[in-house]
Amino acid sequence: MSLTLLFLGPLEDVAGGPDMVLDVAEPLSLARIAERLAPGLAVAIGAPKVRIALNGNLVAAGEVLAGNGDELAFLPPVSGG
C-alpha cells in the first residue's frame, strides 16, 4: 500500500531526492502526510507558494486525500526557461 511523493525543483534538495514512497494503510490528508516527513520537509511543502498536484491534476492543499497508488507532487515556484 504505497503513496508516491514527488518533489520538484529545490524541494528535491530538502527532501534529499526527487521522490519518496510512503507505506499507507488508508488515504491521508496533507496534514497526516506531513506528520510522516522530516520537520524541515513538512514545513517546505506547506509553504503558501507551493502548488500541489494529485495524479497530475492541481488541487488545493485542503482537498488532498491521497492513498495507495496515488502520486502527489509538490511544485514550488517555477524558475523557467
Partner: protein, 152 residues
C-alpha cells in the same frame, strides 16, 4: 501550423525556423525568439538543467499557445522548450509567431516568452565549481506577466 514541443534532447533552431518559415508563406512576417545557454568568458556556470513535471508542463505550453492564438491573428505558432542538462551555447527555447501584420507577431512572441519564463512548469538549476544550485524565481518575471493582464 502549430508546433509545441517539449524537447528531451538537443534541437536545431535553424532547421526548425526554416521549416516554420516555409510553412508560413502566407504570413508577411515571422518573429522568433531563441534563448540559449550563455557562454561568457569567466562565467562560472558550466551547465544548466531544466526539469519539468510531465503531467503539467507540455499541456501548459499547449494551453499557452492556444491563448496566444485566441488573442492575436497568427498564421502559425511554434514553441519548443528543452528540458534536461545543457551546456553553454545549447539552445533552451525557441518561439516563433507568423502573422500578416508584424505587430501581432512581435506581441505574441513577447507574450509567449514572458509566460514560458515565468509561469510554465520548469525548474532550473545551474552547475558551477561548487556543484549544482537551484535558481530562485525572479521578481522581474512576475512583473513581466502583469503586462498581459488584458489577454484572456
Amino acid at each position: 501550423m502549430r508546433r509545441v514541443v517539449l524537447a528531451l534532447e538537443a534541437f536545431d533552431p535553424a532547421c526548425e525556423l526554416e521549416r516554420f518559415s516555409h510553412a508560413s508563406q502566407s504570413a508577411g512576417g515571422i518573429v522568433s525568439f531563441l534563448g540559449q545557454v550563455r557562454q561568457e568568458d569567466g562565467d562560472p556556470v558550466e551547465a544548466l538543467e531544466l526539469r519539468h513535471y510531465e503531467p503539467l508542463t507540455l499541456p501548459g505550453m499547449e494551453a499557452l499557445v492556444r491563448r496566444a492564438e485566441g488573442h492575436w491573428p497568427l498564421a502559425s505558432v511554434m514553441a519548443i522548450h528543452r528540458v534536461g542538462v545543457m551546456v553553454p551555447g545549447d539552445p533552451i527555447v525557441l518561439v516563433a509567431c507568423a502573422a500578416r501584420h508584424r505587430r501581432d507577431a512581435f506581441a505574441a512572441a513577447d507574450f509567449l516568452m514572458d509566460h514560458l519564463k515565468s509561469s510554465a512548469w520548469f525548474w532550473k538549476r545551474e552547475k558551477t565549481a561548487q556543484g549544482w544550485r537551484w535558481v530562485e524565481p525572479r521578481d522581474q518575471d512576475h512583473a513581466d506577466l502583469t503586462r498581459w493582464n488584458a489577454v484572456p
